[in-house]
């Protein structure tokens, strides 16, 4: 088969980039442990309170160490349950100091929801029967909206909360 010199060049570039991209995917998956956020950790979707992290008193922001926080979220149609404040009102805003390491753990009581802290890399699906978790360092100060980005029903657009990262 005769191939033009230029055809050889772009075929080498194309196949070469395919190999490079596959290597990057493999490196992320096998060396860096990148995988879906559910991590294979299961939970009873009809009784998420049976898991220590999702008991009503453990929801929302918890400080575990200097600059280390855990945020537990119970997602349901159409709300993110972040616990209650001292007055018994539902928490809708969590405040985290800049530079903190934050572990987000989310579970759903009903259908598939999304959990996206818009403007950051915190973006995961929350599937019934699984605990989704993602640890991140909040390096940029600002106000971020948590949005559901998996269509979950008629009230989907009303499902949000706020994260404030302060200096």
């Amino acid at each position: 088969m005769h191939l033009h010199k230029f055809e050889k060049i772009w075929l080498v570039c194309g196949i070469g980039s395919l190999v490079v991209f596959l290597f990057i995917v493999g490196y992320g998956a096998f060396w860096q442990g990148t995988h879906p956020q559910s991590h294979g950790v299961t939970i009873d979707p009809y009784n998420i309170e049976s898991n220590e992290a999702f008991k009503p008193e453990n929801l929302g922001l918890t400080k575990v160490d200097d600059d280390k926080y855990i945020v537990n979220i119970a997602a349901s149609a159409f709300n993110y349950d972040l616990g209650k404040d001292e007055e018994g009102n539902a928490v809708k805003t969590i405040r985290i100091p800049k530079g903190s390491t934050v572990l987000f753990q989310a579970a759903t009581k009903d259908v598939v929801h999304g959990f996206h802290v818009a403007g950051t890399n915190v973006n995961m699906m929350v599937e019934p029967g699984y605990v989704s978790s993602l640890e991140t360092v909040m390096d940029n100060a600002g106000t971020y909206t948590i949005v559901c980005n998996e269509y979950c029903g008629v009230g989907h657009h009303m499902m949000y909360a706020t994260v404030e990262v302060y200096e």
Binding site: H4, F6, E7, W10, C13, S17, G119, T120, N121, N140
Partner: protein
């Protein structure tokens, strides 16, 4: 008759692919630039 002769001559010539080559390389450069753009967003956030 003349047409047939031209056709035969063009089969022996190498096709001019310089335009195609430039287009393919530009497309490749665009894909690589956008990939690094997305990667930079991921790293900075």
């Amino acid at each position: 008759m003349r047409k047939r002769k031209d056709h035969q001559a063009s089969e022996n010539e190498k096709p001019n692919l310089i335009g195609t080559f430039i287009s393919v390389m530009l497309l490749g450069a665009f894909i690589i630039i956008t990939w690094f753009g997305a990667y930079a967003l991921f790293i900075s956030r």
